[in-house]
Amino acid sequence: MKEAHLQEYGLKVPVLTAETPDWLEPVRKAGIDRFAAVGFPTARDEEWRFTPVGPIAQGTWRHGTGSTHGVTRAQLAPFIFGHPEWTTLVFVDGGYSEALSSTGALPAGVRAGSLAEALRADGAMLEKHLARHASIEASPFTALSTAFMRDGGFLHVPANTDLTRPVHLVFVSTREAAGSVTYPRNLVVIEQGARASVIESYVSLAEGTSYWTNAVTEVVAGANSWIEHTRIQRESERAFHVGLTHVEQQRDSHYRSFTLAMGGALARHNLHARLNGENVETLMYGLYLTRGDQVVDNHTAIHHDQPNCRSWEVYKGVLDGRSRAVFNGKVFVKPEAQKTDAKQTNRNLLLSDAAKVNTKPQLEIFADDVKCTHGATVGRLDEVALFYARSRGVPAEKAQRLLTYAFAAEVTSEVVLEPVRSELDRLVRERLGEM
């Protein structure tokens, strides 16, 4: 309930502000004021038409304790991948766990750690970026995150530095998280000419637990930087997950994201990119795998503010059971953004009669010399392709799995970093059935 969150703010703010720099206090205040003014969205809000957030809005949510609750490395093992020398930052029920994290050797000048610590140690450095890009007007959930943010990942890669090994942020919910909300808040600043891979994982140690994750990630891509950003959402299938990723791109930067959504009773992710310089390239790949009564919603927005930029977006979904997916892809092209090249594709594969998709491309183009296309499909496996596989000796049920896997693999194969690609492949196979 809205009132409960406002009261909570009154109680929490002295604690929160005691931990964080002074400049953050008015930022938090603006967040809660915004939330007080707009409240939770309803089905009457165009942005939330197909995504019923009632269970979140009507729920009472304790704030996550941020204690490690006795979690062991062995328990986390199924969610950790790549190489031991990667930097893996683990957050349990909203709080950073130094004991469970491991920081590999980082290139000179790179900062990778907990946001809460960074705010205590060198808040001034964060002042320029934290909550400056993800607008509190983006959604009431972002406003709440801004009011209540406490911890999350902080990564800073200085100019002309190659991070070489990725940084993996792992947000774990335990059984203790039942009935609570956490506000993971991440800031990733990749300076001019730098190169980095970042992975965010949202996972649960207690399948069947109901909790709420409200995550916000801000990414700053400096001029001529290169970033691969992977987001793996594997929450409990009774959990609620709302997330916003905002990417601010400067000239000549290359940002590519891959978003896998397979958890949550209700999961919504907004991915917004602002192309704020010339010759920017933005690639957004997504895959959602839903079953049961899951509702998974992806909203993307690409803001072509400057000329000569390219954006390429492919989101695919495989839906089973009575699950439902929402896709909304916005592309805004400003009058000055001539020579924009934007392509958006959303393809959905239905494995059951009861699964549903609401897909909507939304292109708003105010420049005249541009190339913008979009396409959306919702359908079943191709009969002829099934026959093709069967005519080669593959039994019907296996042919279906093979083609379903192929449908998903087409998009996971776009991930550049091999260990990440393999992990995504493993998750897809695990969900769709081994072949």
Binding site: F387, Y388, A389, S391, P395, L402, Y405
Partner: protein, 252 residues
């Protein structure tokens, strides 16, 4: 090996095959020719079990068993292979992955052990040589972005790996340039054995210069209207299908 008796088949309400009789023995190559719309591709697809067609009458015996009662995968496991006229693109899985999956399913059906990807690559090497390809093609997604000629060559490669007893080539020559035609034909010839058989469905005589048939059958409006030796194909090439259709029309 194959005995087709009085076979009738429809797509939706439209009857396409109107009573086909055909016997193919081991070691033989049969060419099925005919104008567009005569039903020759339908015949090929019905034999492989394409779900778009419904068999309304007749019988097909394959090695003494009721072929029409078998699922497409069971037919493939029993040694039937259809080289598609329009091979299907499957983005997302590699040619090697797909072909190994098929190869292993056929092995499993025979009670043989599956082969791992390394052993499969060894086996592929020889088969690739047959279609004059390097190993790069195997890491590309199945037929995805392949040229028309590459797709047809890929069908022959699949055939070479799966080693069918009865291969049915559906318009494999259409859209091939002369080099691709030569490669495809020599691949097919290399796979000919006394204990297997081939049915070549084609509109043109061209492919039959390379793969010499034992028998040629001409299909018109869903029936075989003439059967003969390889000279029949040459006669058709010289005189066209109309001649035969008129002759048949006059006779009936």
């Amino acid at each position: 090996m194959l005995e087709i008796r009085g076979l009738r088949a429809s797509a939706g309400d439209k009857e396409i095959l109107k009573g086909i009789d055909l016997t193919v023995n081991a070691g033989e190559v049969h060419a099925v020719m005919g104008p567009n719309g005569s039903g020759k591709s339908t015949l090929a697809q019905v034999l492989a079990g394409h779900p778009a067609y419904e068999v309304t009458a007749g019988q097909v015996l394959y090695e003494g068993n009721d072929l029409l009662d078998m699922d497409p995968e069971v037919r493939a496991q029993a040694g039937i292979f259809l080289a598609f006229q329009y091979p299907v693109e499957i983005p997302g899985i590699s040619n090697a992955y797909f072909l190994r999956a098929a190869y292993n399913e056929i092995r499993k059906s025979k009670g043989l052990e599956e082969v791992d990807s390394m052993d499969f690559l060894d086996l592929l090497e020889e088969k690739l040589r047959l279609v004059e390809w390097g190993p790069e093609i195997m890491s590309r997604a199945v037929n995805s972005g392949f040229s028309g000629g590459e797709k047809k060559r890929n069908e022959i490669l699949q055939m070479a790996v799966l080693e069918p007893k009865l291969a049915i080539l559906d318009e494999t020559d259409s859209g091939l340039d002369i080099d691709a035609l030569r490669i495809v034909a020599s691949g097919v010839n290399a796979l000919r054995k006394p204990d297997n058989a081939t049915i070549i469905v084609t509109h043109y005589q061209r492919l039959l210069n390379y793969i010499v048939p034992d028998q040629v059958h001409v299909l018109s409006a869903g029936r075989i209207v003439r059967s003969g030796g390889k000279d029949l194909a040459l006669e058709l090439e010289a005189r066209g299908y109309e001649w035969l259709e008129q002759e048949v029309g006059a006779a009936s």
